[in-house]
């Protein structure tokens, strides 16, 4: 029997995905591995939103795809509470996997390429229903219901994607994800391609849907303001690992990992009176730091010491007694780091 805390819908433990690096023309030989996701653990409370943030290439999308089993993880477990009980997504096969996937859906970043331009949106939204064997009449009813749920007119069902704006297309993507009444939505940068005035429409739609349907979200983003707006808990990733995990306000106001503090201070807030440290961040992620030993942020860290090169820091509460605020830093809790109020 699998078990996880009663208030959780998803529990990811030590998830890894390593992509082989191959060389050779006639006989491909494995010469190394990209540790795209390298031992990630977190859980999502039912009806809440977990944010996954970090710079491009840090492994957010790979984590999302591994959770949904859109790819096979190298190791780890993904416990998920479905209508039929708790399953480990990593171990499921065939019809059991299909069944579990109905309860967990994904919304993608690009509202332009994620919708098939040759299908009317009726067919696009109904596609998951069709795959699960719903009869035509029921599908059409459900699509109309879904369109009004996401704030689009049911009459639009016969139109094609090109006749919709970016924000409307993203609503269509959300409607499709909701078709099978999932309990968990994994949204991979769903507003990153949208203009600001329209982005707000989609953000509020997600909040409303959560209120009305009790949905749980894994929200992937790189805009720290958007993540603060939507999320209850935030995990900061750096080179395949979670470096800090905490309740949203604690993480923003009192970051415990130097990388989190660096990220926050680099954001120019939309307020000319707010402080902005454009000169604080040095260097960039090259991938060479993807070391097995030591802290991967060490080359860019202003606080790095000998121990940071020799010993990999574990995600822990450090010197502070608080099991809800974790950081993977040898000096977590002992540094005087700047946050945002």
């Amino acid at each position: 029997m699998l078990s996880m805390p009663d208030d959780c819908i998803l529990q990811v433990t030590d998830l890894k995905k390593h992509f082989p690096i191959e060389a050779g023309f006639f006989r491909r030989k494995k010469i190394g591995a990209v540790r795209a996701v390298d031992g990630v653990s977190f859980s999502v409370e039912t009806g809440r939103t977990l944010g996954l943030v970090g710079e491009s290439g840090c492994g957010k999308t790979t984590t999302a795809r591994a959770i949904l089993r859109a790819l096979d993880p190298t190791s780890g477990s993904v416990l998920f509470r479905t209508r039929e009980g708790i399953v480990d997504m990593v171990k499921l096969k065939g019809p059991a996997l299909k069944g579990a996937r109905a309860d967990m859906q994904m919304v993608f970043q690009d509202p332009y390429s994620s919708l098939n331009p040759r299908l009317p949106i009726m067919d696009i939204i109904a596609e998951p229903l069709k795959a699960h064997g719903y009869p035509k009449k029921e599908r059409e009813e459900r699509v109309k219901e879904l369109l009004s749920l996401v704030g689009l007119r049911p009459e639009y069902a016969r139109r094609y994607p090109h006749s919709f704006s970016g924000g409307q297309r993203q609503r269509i993507g959300v409607a499709r994800a909701l078709a099978l009444r999932p309990a968990l939505i994994v949204a991979d940068e769903p507003v990153s391609a949208l203009d600001v005035s329209v982005q707000a429409q989609v953000l509020n739609l997600l909040l409303d849907l959560q209120d009305r349907l009790g949905l749980s979200f894994v929200f992937i983003g790189h805009d720290l303001s958007v993540v603060r707006y939507l999320c209850d808990t935030v995990a900061v990733m750096y080179l395949g690992k979670i470096v800090e995990l905490a309740a949203v306000d604690a993480l923003y106001e009192e970051p415990r990992h130097p990388y989190t503090s660096t990220l926050l201070s680099a954001v120019p807030d939309a307020d000319p009176h707010a402080p902005w440290r454009r000169d604080i961040v040095k260097g960039e992620v090259t991938g060479d730091e993807r070391e097995i030993v030591g802290c991967s942020f060490e080359p860019r860290c202003p606080y790095a010491q000998e121990i940071c090169r020799n010993q990999t820091p574990e995600l822990s509460s450090g010197t502070v007694q608080d099991s809800t605020h974790l950081a993977a830093c040898h000096f977590a809790g002992a540094l005087d780091l700047e946050g945002v109020s």
């Binding site: 710079e55 491009s56 704006s165 970016g166 924000g167 409307q168 203009d195 600001v196 005035s197 329209v198 982005q199 707000a200 429409q201 953000l203 509020n204 909040l207 790189h222 720290l224 303001s225 958007v226 603060r228 707006y229 306000d249 923003y252 660096t262 990220l263 926050l264 680099a266 954001v267 120019p268 807030d269 939309a270 307020d271 000319p272 009176h273 707010a274 902005w276 440290r277 454009r278 000169d279 604080i280 961040v281 040095k282 960039e284 090259t286 945002v340 109020s341």
Partner: protein, 343 residues
């Protein structure tokens, strides 16, 4: 001779750009005016399709042949003479000189200014030799100096790299070095950091600011990111559907926005220093097509303050504060301050 405000280096007046296509006419820019005080920075903000890039390409006259441009773009030359850029031949000698030595551009994508098949050294020294009459050797020394200036480590070695050998951040820096190689007086940066992660964005913006001081540049910064403008520029113009709807000193615009669209934008973005639980307020609807020129105010369809007259004529520019202008019927003289909606 044309007259300009004494402190401006560039005055854009009533700029209009249309594209005549088989499908119809695109009204890309509809009477845009703004000026750039010498040595200062001006931000152009607006959502995609509002005409930012077309305005920038009008200044450097790099628009495709399908474009029709009218209005004035006055540029103050080094000697003090004033040139109207809209009257020049796009490929003529004067325009080539202005693009070469006076007004440089940088873009979101570094490879749009760097050639993939030439070494950094050759690309930059070519730019230098062509316009500054240095020898090859002097030019190479100058290139290394420039690369150091933009923060490329081990510049003596990097100078012989091809662009693909540089990391993303270094390529951004090389592009900026390329734009500065000819010692321009105006730098136009079109969404220079839009594709970058936040830490790299901070580094590139920091570099642009340092270079502005170093080269005494006048900067036009185009962006859709209100956070970037808030911290990078002295003056800002907010564009909507090919028009500047509001302009003024950046602090004044943020503290005291007047146009309903500017207010809408400010309320639609979540803040990093977020007041918890406070909802962002989206602007309803979406940007109308640039094919049909509106009869009234371009924003009136989505405007919470819309009145009868807003659908009639295009609103005139009104001064509402020191250097603060707004194009909105509600502020026409004699009306006083309207009720503040969604502020």
């Amino acid at each position: 001779m044309k007259k300009m405000a004494p402190d401006s280096i560039l005055d854009v007046r009533d700029l209009t750009v249309k594209f005549f296509l088989d499908e119809g006419t695109v009204h890309a820019v509809n009477g845009v005016s703004f000026s750039v005080p010498a040595g200062r920075s001006v931000g152009i903000v607006g959502e995609s399709g509002c005409g930012k890039t077309v305005s920038a390409y009008s200044i450097t006259r790099l628009l495709p042949k399908t474009a029709r441009i009218s209005g004035e773009i006055l540029f103050r030359e080094r000697g003090g003479d004033i040139t109207n850029i809209t009257e020049l031949e796009p490929d003529g000698g004067d325009m080539r000189r202005i693009r070469g030595k006076e007004i440089s551009m940088i873009f979101q994508e570094p490879m749009s200014s760097l050639s993939p098949v030439h070494k950094i050294s050759n690309q930059l020294s070519e730019a230098i030799i062509q316009f500054q009459g240095l020898t090859k050797r002097q030019a190479r020394a100058r290139v290394i100096e420039l690369l150091q200036l933009v923060g490329i480590p081990q510049a003596e070695r990097r100078v012989d790299d091809y662009p693909f050998q540089l990391s993303g951040g270094m390529r951004q820096r090389a592009m900026i070095a390329m734009a500065l190689a000819r010692n321009p007086r105006v730098l136009i940066a079109d969404e220079p950091t839009t594709a970058l992660d936040v830490t790299l964005q901070a580094q590139v913006l920091n570099l642009i600011r340092d270079m502005q001081d170093e080269f005494k540049l006048s900067l036009i910064l185009i962006t859709h990111d209100l956070g970037v403008v808030a911290h990078m520029v002295d003056y800002v113009s907010i564009m909507y559907l090919g028009m500047v709807v509001e302009s003024g000193p950046v602090i004044e615009i943020f503290d005291n926005p007047k146009h309903p669209y500017t207010r809408g934008l400010m309320h639609s973005i979540p803040k990093l220093r977020g007041r918890r639980g406070e909802r962002v307020e989206p602007i309803p609807g979406f940007v109308p097509s640039a094919y049909a020129l509106q009869e009234g105010c371009p924003f009136c369809e989505r405007c919470p303050m819309r009145e009868e007259r807003c659908t009639k004529g295009i609103p005139q520019r009104v001064q509402v504060g020191s250097e603060h202008y707004v194009c909105c019927h509600v502020y026409q003289p004699g009306e006083g301050e309207p009720d503040v909606v969604n502020a």
